[in-house]
Amino acid sequence: MKGPCDRAAEAFRRDDPPAIDRLRVHAASCLECAPRLALWDAITSEAPSLRKEWESPALFPRIAAALEAERVRAPETRRAAPETVRSKRFSWVPVAAAAALFVLATIGLQVFRNSGGREPLVNAAGTSNPLLTDRSLDEVESAEANYVRSIDRLSALARPRIENPTTALFVSYREKLLLLDSAISEIRTQIDGNRFNSHLRRELLAMYQEKQRTLQQLMKEAQS
Protein backbone atom coordinates (compact mmCIF):
# COMPACT_ATOMS: atom_id res chain seq x y z
CA MET A 1 0.00 0.00 0.00
CA LYS A 2 1.32 3.43 -0.88
CA GLY A 3 2.08 5.90 1.95
CA PRO A 4 1.03 9.55 1.95
CA CYS A 5 2.49 11.58 -0.91
CA ASP A 6 5.10 14.01 0.35
CA ARG A 7 6.11 15.61 -2.93
CA ALA A 8 4.22 18.79 -2.15
CA ALA A 9 6.05 19.32 1.15
CA GLU A 10 9.38 18.66 -0.55
CA ALA A 11 8.70 21.20 -3.30
CA PHE A 12 7.42 23.82 -0.84
CA ARG A 13 10.50 23.38 1.32
CA ARG A 14 12.79 24.06 -1.64
CA ASP A 15 10.69 27.06 -2.60
CA ASP A 16 12.17 27.39 -6.09
CA PRO A 17 10.16 27.77 -9.30
CA PRO A 18 11.36 24.58 -11.07
CA ALA A 19 10.40 22.43 -8.07
CA ILE A 20 6.97 24.07 -7.90
CA ASP A 21 6.53 23.60 -11.68
CA ARG A 22 7.31 19.89 -11.37
CA LEU A 23 4.86 19.68 -8.49
CA ARG A 24 2.23 21.37 -10.66
CA VAL A 25 2.58 18.63 -13.27
CA HIS A 26 2.45 15.95 -10.58
CA ALA A 27 -0.52 17.56 -8.78
CA ALA A 28 -2.62 17.31 -11.92
CA SER A 29 -2.92 13.60 -11.22
CA CYS A 30 -2.43 13.46 -7.42
CA LEU A 31 -5.48 13.98 -5.24
CA GLU A 32 -3.34 14.63 -2.14
CA CYS A 33 -1.03 17.23 -3.62
CA ALA A 34 -3.59 19.13 -5.70
CA PRO A 35 -5.44 20.79 -2.75
CA ARG A 36 -2.17 21.47 -0.94
CA LEU A 37 -0.78 23.20 -3.99
CA ALA A 38 -4.00 25.17 -4.45
CA LEU A 39 -3.85 26.40 -0.84
CA TRP A 40 -0.16 27.19 -1.15
CA ASP A 41 -0.80 29.17 -4.34
CA ALA A 42 -3.69 30.97 -2.67
CA ILE A 43 -1.51 32.03 0.27
CA THR A 44 1.31 33.10 -2.03
CA SER A 45 -0.90 35.14 -4.34
CA GLU A 46 -2.98 36.68 -1.57
CA ALA A 47 -0.07 37.57 0.73
CA PRO A 48 0.88 40.83 -1.05
CA SER A 49 -2.62 42.12 -0.32
CA LEU A 50 -1.62 42.24 3.33
CA ARG A 51 0.65 45.15 2.43
CA LYS A 52 -0.65 48.24 4.19
CA GLU A 53 -0.91 51.53 2.35
CA TRP A 54 -2.35 54.73 3.66
CA GLU A 55 -1.85 58.41 3.14
CA SER A 56 0.32 60.14 5.72
CA PRO A 57 1.18 63.54 4.28
CA ALA A 58 2.27 64.82 7.70
CA LEU A 59 4.79 62.07 8.33
CA PHE A 60 7.79 63.31 6.40
CA PRO A 61 7.40 66.91 7.61
CA ARG A 62 7.33 65.43 11.12
CA ILE A 63 10.48 63.42 10.42
CA ALA A 64 12.20 66.48 8.92
CA ALA A 65 11.32 68.53 12.00
CA ALA A 66 12.61 65.80 14.31
CA LEU A 67 15.85 65.57 12.30
CA GLU A 68 16.27 69.31 12.43
CA ALA A 69 15.66 69.33 16.19
CA GLU A 70 18.19 66.54 16.59
CA ARG A 71 20.73 68.44 14.47
CA VAL A 72 20.30 71.59 16.53
CA ARG A 73 20.24 69.75 19.85
CA ALA A 74 23.49 67.86 19.31
CA PRO A 75 25.85 70.86 19.00
CA GLU A 76 23.93 72.75 21.68
CA THR A 77 24.41 69.91 24.10
CA ARG A 78 28.11 69.86 23.30
CA ARG A 79 28.37 73.64 23.63
CA ALA A 80 26.29 73.88 26.77
CA ALA A 81 28.09 71.17 28.68
CA PRO A 82 31.37 73.00 29.34
CA GLU A 83 29.59 76.16 30.47
CA THR A 84 27.35 74.46 32.95
CA VAL A 85 29.98 72.27 34.49
CA ARG A 86 32.98 74.56 34.12
CA SER A 87 32.94 76.11 37.57
CA LYS A 88 32.37 72.82 39.35
CA ARG A 89 34.90 71.00 37.20
CA PHE A 90 37.71 73.40 37.88
CA SER A 91 37.16 73.18 41.59
CA TRP A 92 37.70 69.43 41.77
CA VAL A 93 39.96 68.71 38.80
CA PRO A 94 43.31 69.39 40.55
CA VAL A 95 42.28 67.37 43.61
CA ALA A 96 41.01 64.48 41.48
CA ALA A 97 44.16 64.54 39.36
CA ALA A 98 46.38 64.39 42.40
CA ALA A 99 44.33 61.56 43.89
CA ALA A 100 44.43 59.62 40.61
CA LEU A 101 48.19 60.08 40.36
CA PHE A 102 48.63 58.81 43.89
CA VAL A 103 46.44 55.73 43.27
CA LEU A 104 48.20 54.93 40.00
CA ALA A 105 51.63 55.31 41.57
CA THR A 106 50.67 53.03 44.46
CA ILE A 107 49.24 50.34 42.18
CA GLY A 108 52.20 50.60 39.83
CA LEU A 109 54.67 50.21 42.65
CA GLN A 110 52.78 47.22 44.02
CA VAL A 111 52.66 45.47 40.63
CA PHE A 112 56.32 46.14 40.02
CA ARG A 113 57.26 44.70 43.42
CA ASN A 114 55.12 41.57 42.96
CA SER A 115 56.60 40.85 39.55
CA GLY A 116 60.13 41.38 40.75
CA GLY A 117 60.53 43.89 37.98
CA ARG A 118 60.79 41.16 35.34
CA GLU A 119 57.24 40.84 34.01
CA PRO A 120 55.54 43.50 31.92
CA LEU A 121 53.74 45.90 34.21
CA VAL A 122 50.58 45.97 32.14
CA ASN A 123 49.00 43.07 30.33
CA ALA A 124 47.65 44.50 27.12
CA ALA A 125 45.02 41.80 26.85
CA GLY A 126 43.76 42.56 30.31
CA THR A 127 43.03 46.22 29.77
CA SER A 128 39.36 47.08 29.67
CA ASN A 129 39.18 50.21 27.60
CA PRO A 130 35.50 50.46 26.67
CA LEU A 131 36.33 52.05 23.30
CA LEU A 132 38.32 50.45 20.53
CA THR A 133 40.79 52.22 18.31
CA ASP A 134 40.49 52.13 14.51
CA ARG A 135 43.23 49.55 14.15
CA SER A 136 42.02 47.27 16.93
CA LEU A 137 38.50 47.59 15.55
CA ASP A 138 39.67 46.28 12.17
CA GLU A 139 41.38 43.36 13.92
CA VAL A 140 38.30 42.62 16.03
CA GLU A 141 36.00 42.75 13.02
CA SER A 142 38.26 40.52 11.00
CA ALA A 143 38.47 37.94 13.82
CA GLU A 144 34.74 38.23 14.32
CA ALA A 145 34.08 37.58 10.62
CA ASN A 146 36.25 34.43 10.73
CA TYR A 147 34.48 33.22 13.85
CA VAL A 148 31.06 33.84 12.33
CA ARG A 149 32.10 31.98 9.17
CA SER A 150 33.15 28.94 11.19
CA ILE A 151 29.85 29.00 13.12
CA ASP A 152 27.99 29.26 9.81
CA ARG A 153 29.82 26.15 8.64
CA LEU A 154 28.75 24.40 11.82
CA SER A 155 25.19 25.62 11.23
CA ALA A 156 25.29 24.17 7.72
CA LEU A 157 26.27 20.78 9.15
CA ALA A 158 23.48 20.93 11.72
CA ARG A 159 20.88 22.28 9.28
CA PRO A 160 19.20 18.93 8.43
CA ARG A 161 18.61 18.32 12.13
CA ILE A 162 17.41 21.87 12.72
CA GLU A 163 15.07 21.93 9.77
CA ASN A 164 13.62 18.49 10.41
CA PRO A 165 13.63 18.02 14.16
CA THR A 166 12.76 14.43 14.99
CA THR A 167 12.36 14.82 18.75
CA ALA A 168 11.23 17.46 21.22
CA LEU A 169 14.86 17.96 22.19
CA PHE A 170 15.79 19.01 18.66
CA VAL A 171 12.77 21.28 18.52
CA SER A 172 13.98 23.02 21.67
CA TYR A 173 17.49 23.33 20.21
CA ARG A 174 15.95 24.94 17.14
CA GLU A 175 13.94 27.38 19.25
CA LYS A 176 17.02 28.29 21.24
CA LEU A 177 19.00 28.89 18.06
CA LEU A 178 16.26 31.15 16.71
CA LEU A 179 16.29 33.14 19.94
CA LEU A 180 20.06 33.44 19.77
CA ASP A 181 19.87 34.60 16.15
CA SER A 182 17.35 37.20 17.19
CA ALA A 183 19.55 38.44 20.07
CA ILE A 184 22.59 38.51 17.77
CA SER A 185 20.61 40.57 15.29
CA GLU A 186 19.70 43.11 17.94
CA ILE A 187 23.23 43.49 19.23
CA ARG A 188 24.51 43.81 15.68
CA THR A 189 22.12 46.68 15.08
CA GLN A 190 23.38 48.42 18.21
CA ILE A 191 26.94 47.86 17.02
CA ASP A 192 26.06 49.40 13.64
CA GLY A 193 25.35 52.58 15.55
CA ASN A 194 28.35 52.34 17.85
CA ARG A 195 31.09 50.27 16.29
CA PHE A 196 33.76 51.22 18.77
CA ASN A 197 31.93 49.95 21.84
CA SER A 198 33.85 46.96 23.16
CA HIS A 199 31.12 46.01 25.68
CA LEU A 200 28.69 45.39 22.83
CA ARG A 201 31.37 43.38 21.03
CA ARG A 202 31.82 41.22 24.13
CA GLU A 203 28.07 40.67 24.37
CA LEU A 204 28.02 39.66 20.72
CA LEU A 205 30.92 37.27 21.26
CA ALA A 206 29.09 35.70 24.23
CA MET A 207 26.03 35.16 22.03
CA TYR A 208 28.09 33.55 19.30
CA GLN A 209 29.83 31.33 21.85
CA GLU A 210 26.45 30.21 23.14
CA LYS A 211 25.32 29.52 19.59
CA GLN A 212 28.47 27.50 18.95
CA ARG A 213 27.93 25.49 22.17
CA THR A 214 24.29 24.85 21.26
CA LEU A 215 25.21 23.68 17.76
CA GLN A 216 27.91 21.40 19.16
CA GLN A 217 25.47 19.91 21.69
CA LEU A 218 22.95 19.40 18.92
CA MET A 219 25.50 17.63 16.73
CA LYS A 220 26.57 15.48 19.67
CA GLU A 221 22.96 14.48 20.35
CA ALA A 222 22.46 13.74 16.67
CA GLN A 223 25.43 11.36 16.65
CA SER A 224 24.50 9.53 19.86
Binding site: I43, L50, R62, A64, A66, L67, S155, I162, E163, D192
Partner: protein, 211 residues
Protein backbone atom coordinates in the same frame (compact mmCIF):
# COMPACT_ATOMS: atom_id res chain seq x y z
CA UNK B 1 7.77 68.12 0.35
CA UNK B 2 4.93 68.24 -2.13
CA UNK B 3 4.53 65.05 -4.02
CA UNK B 4 6.41 62.94 -1.50
CA UNK B 5 3.45 60.66 -1.03
CA UNK B 6 2.68 60.40 -4.72
CA UNK B 7 6.21 59.21 -5.39
CA UNK B 8 6.35 56.76 -2.49
CA UNK B 9 4.95 53.76 -4.28
CA UNK B 10 6.85 54.20 -7.53
CA UNK B 11 10.15 54.68 -5.72
CA UNK B 12 9.46 51.80 -3.36
CA UNK B 13 9.07 49.57 -6.39
CA UNK B 14 12.28 50.92 -7.91
CA UNK B 15 14.11 50.30 -4.66
CA UNK B 16 12.69 46.83 -4.43
CA UNK B 17 13.81 45.94 -7.92
CA UNK B 18 17.24 47.44 -7.40
CA UNK B 19 17.59 45.70 -4.06
CA UNK B 20 16.73 42.30 -5.49
CA UNK B 21 19.69 42.39 -7.84
CA UNK B 22 22.26 43.67 -5.41
CA UNK B 23 24.96 41.25 -4.46
CA UNK B 24 26.01 42.99 -1.24
CA UNK B 25 27.91 46.22 -0.69
CA UNK B 26 26.64 49.67 -1.61
CA UNK B 27 25.02 50.45 -4.94
CA UNK B 28 26.47 53.61 -6.45
CA UNK B 29 23.54 55.89 -5.61
CA UNK B 30 23.35 54.64 -2.04
CA UNK B 31 26.92 55.69 -1.28
CA UNK B 32 26.23 59.29 -2.29
CA UNK B 33 22.93 59.26 -0.45
CA UNK B 34 24.59 57.91 2.67
CA UNK B 35 27.20 60.63 2.49
CA UNK B 36 24.47 63.26 2.28
CA UNK B 37 22.67 61.67 5.24
CA UNK B 38 25.91 61.84 7.23
CA UNK B 39 25.94 65.57 6.57
CA UNK B 40 22.38 65.76 7.86
CA UNK B 41 20.87 66.82 4.53
CA UNK B 42 17.08 66.84 4.85
CA UNK B 43 16.84 66.42 1.08
CA UNK B 44 18.76 63.15 1.36
CA UNK B 45 16.38 61.89 4.02
CA UNK B 46 13.47 62.97 1.87
CA UNK B 47 14.88 60.87 -0.96
CA UNK B 48 15.28 57.94 1.44
CA UNK B 49 11.67 58.43 2.48
CA UNK B 50 10.54 58.48 -1.14
CA UNK B 51 12.42 55.25 -1.79
CA UNK B 52 11.54 53.31 1.33
CA UNK B 53 8.88 55.20 3.31
CA UNK B 54 5.85 53.31 2.00
CA UNK B 55 7.42 49.93 2.53
CA UNK B 56 8.68 50.92 5.97
CA UNK B 57 5.21 52.02 6.99
CA UNK B 58 3.70 48.78 5.77
CA UNK B 59 6.22 46.60 7.59
CA UNK B 60 5.82 48.58 10.80
CA UNK B 61 2.04 48.51 10.52
CA UNK B 62 2.03 44.74 10.10
CA UNK B 63 4.39 44.28 13.03
CA UNK B 64 2.75 46.78 15.37
CA UNK B 65 -0.86 46.56 14.35
CA UNK B 66 -1.63 50.29 14.35
CA UNK B 67 -0.96 53.00 11.79
CA UNK B 68 -0.05 55.61 14.40
CA UNK B 69 2.51 53.28 16.01
CA UNK B 70 3.85 52.43 12.56
CA UNK B 71 4.40 56.11 11.76
CA UNK B 72 6.14 56.62 15.12
CA UNK B 73 8.38 53.65 14.36
CA UNK B 74 9.30 55.02 10.93
CA UNK B 75 10.11 58.41 12.44
CA UNK B 76 12.23 56.82 15.17
CA UNK B 77 14.00 54.69 12.59
CA UNK B 78 14.90 57.77 10.54
CA UNK B 79 16.36 59.43 13.64
CA UNK B 80 18.42 56.32 14.32
CA UNK B 81 19.61 56.33 10.72
CA UNK B 82 20.70 59.95 11.19
CA UNK B 83 22.51 59.14 14.44
CA UNK B 84 24.10 55.98 13.07
CA UNK B 85 24.99 57.17 9.56
CA UNK B 86 28.40 58.44 10.64
CA UNK B 87 29.47 55.07 11.95
CA UNK B 88 27.68 52.94 9.35
CA UNK B 89 30.39 51.18 7.44
CA UNK B 90 28.38 49.74 4.61
CA UNK B 91 28.96 46.03 5.03
CA UNK B 92 25.25 45.67 4.20
CA UNK B 93 23.26 47.66 1.64
CA UNK B 94 21.99 50.97 2.94
CA UNK B 95 18.41 49.84 2.36
CA UNK B 96 18.72 46.61 4.32
CA UNK B 97 20.45 48.51 7.14
CA UNK B 98 17.50 50.90 7.28
CA UNK B 99 14.99 48.05 7.35
CA UNK B 100 17.01 46.32 10.03
CA UNK B 101 16.85 49.48 12.13
CA UNK B 102 13.12 49.70 11.50
CA UNK B 103 12.43 46.09 12.48
CA UNK B 104 14.46 46.48 15.67
CA UNK B 105 12.68 49.76 16.42
CA UNK B 106 9.39 47.88 16.12
CA UNK B 107 10.68 45.22 18.51
CA UNK B 108 11.63 48.00 20.96
CA UNK B 109 8.16 49.49 20.72
CA UNK B 110 6.58 46.08 21.31
CA UNK B 111 8.81 45.54 24.34
CA UNK B 112 7.94 48.97 25.72
CA UNK B 113 4.27 48.25 25.11
CA UNK B 114 4.50 44.96 26.96
CA UNK B 115 6.37 46.62 29.82
CA UNK B 116 3.72 49.27 30.19
CA UNK B 117 1.11 46.51 30.18
CA UNK B 118 -1.41 48.91 28.77
CA UNK B 119 -3.08 46.12 26.89
CA UNK B 120 -2.86 43.44 29.54
CA UNK B 121 -5.14 41.08 27.66
CA UNK B 122 -4.17 42.15 24.20
CA UNK B 123 -0.45 42.78 24.08
CA UNK B 124 0.79 40.87 21.08
CA UNK B 125 0.84 42.45 17.65
CA UNK B 126 -0.90 39.32 16.50
CA UNK B 127 -3.80 39.94 18.80
CA UNK B 128 -4.04 43.50 17.53
CA UNK B 129 -3.84 42.42 13.97
CA UNK B 130 -6.62 39.97 14.72
CA UNK B 131 -8.82 42.94 15.52
CA UNK B 132 -8.88 43.61 11.84
CA UNK B 133 -9.91 46.78 10.14
CA UNK B 134 -13.42 46.58 8.82
CA UNK B 135 -12.29 47.01 5.21
CA UNK B 136 -10.49 43.66 5.29
CA UNK B 137 -13.63 41.82 6.18
CA UNK B 138 -14.82 41.87 2.59
CA UNK B 139 -12.23 39.35 1.58
CA UNK B 140 -12.46 36.00 3.32
CA UNK B 141 -9.14 34.56 2.28
CA UNK B 142 -7.21 37.71 3.11
CA UNK B 143 -9.00 37.89 6.44
CA UNK B 144 -8.15 34.28 7.16
CA UNK B 145 -4.50 34.77 6.19
CA UNK B 146 -4.27 37.90 8.30
CA UNK B 147 -5.67 36.05 11.30
CA UNK B 148 -3.32 33.16 10.63
CA UNK B 149 -0.32 35.50 10.42
CA UNK B 150 -1.36 36.96 13.75
CA UNK B 151 -1.04 33.51 15.30
CA UNK B 152 2.41 32.77 13.89
CA UNK B 153 5.47 32.86 16.10
CA UNK B 154 7.28 36.20 15.84
CA UNK B 155 10.20 34.95 13.74
CA UNK B 156 7.92 33.07 11.33
CA UNK B 157 5.67 36.10 11.08
CA UNK B 158 8.59 38.45 10.42
CA UNK B 159 9.98 36.31 7.60
CA UNK B 160 6.53 35.77 6.08
CA UNK B 161 5.79 39.52 6.14
CA UNK B 162 9.15 40.45 4.65
CA UNK B 163 9.15 37.73 2.00
CA UNK B 164 5.60 36.93 0.94
CA UNK B 165 4.03 40.31 1.71
CA UNK B 166 6.81 42.81 1.04
CA UNK B 167 8.75 40.88 -1.57
CA UNK B 168 12.20 40.85 0.03
CA UNK B 169 14.58 38.17 -1.24
CA UNK B 170 15.96 35.64 1.23
CA UNK B 171 19.35 37.33 0.95
CA UNK B 172 17.84 40.66 1.93
CA UNK B 173 15.91 39.05 4.79
CA UNK B 174 19.10 37.42 6.01
CA UNK B 175 20.66 40.89 6.24
CA UNK B 176 17.64 42.59 7.78
CA UNK B 177 17.09 39.94 10.45
CA UNK B 178 20.72 38.83 10.63
CA UNK B 179 19.97 35.18 10.06
CA UNK B 180 21.43 32.79 7.48
CA UNK B 181 19.61 32.61 4.14
CA UNK B 182 18.83 28.95 4.75
CA UNK B 183 17.11 29.85 8.02
CA UNK B 184 15.05 32.45 6.19
CA UNK B 185 13.91 29.81 3.68
CA UNK B 186 13.09 27.35 6.44
CA UNK B 187 11.15 29.94 8.44
CA UNK B 188 9.15 30.93 5.36
CA UNK B 189 8.35 27.31 4.59
CA UNK B 190 7.25 26.67 8.18
CA UNK B 191 5.25 29.90 8.28
CA UNK B 192 3.35 28.93 5.13
CA UNK B 193 2.85 25.38 6.37
CA UNK B 194 1.43 26.69 9.65
CA UNK B 195 -0.74 29.11 7.75
CA UNK B 196 -2.08 26.22 5.70
CA UNK B 197 -3.14 24.44 8.84
CA UNK B 198 -4.47 27.64 10.47
CA UNK B 199 -6.47 28.47 7.43
CA UNK B 200 -7.86 24.98 7.20
CA UNK B 201 -11.40 24.81 6.01
CA UNK B 202 -12.02 28.53 5.63
CA UNK B 203 -9.29 29.00 3.04
CA UNK B 204 -10.01 25.69 1.37
CA UNK B 205 -13.64 26.77 0.93
CA UNK B 206 -12.52 30.04 -0.59
CA UNK B 207 -10.15 28.29 -2.97
CA UNK B 208 -12.87 25.86 -3.98
CA UNK B 209 -15.24 28.77 -4.37
CA UNK B 210 -12.80 30.38 -6.79
CA UNK B 211 -12.39 27.22 -8.87
Amino acid sequence: MTGVRSLENRHAKEALLAGSDEQGGQPEGDEALLEECRRGSVAAFERLYELHGARMKSIARNLLGQESDAEDAVQEAFLKVYRGAASFRGSAALSTWIYRILVNTCYDILRRRRRRSEDALDTTPGAEAAALPARAADHRLRLAIEQGVARLRPRHRDVFLLSAVEGFSHREISEVLDIPEGTSRTLLFEAKRRLQSFLGDAAADTVEGRA
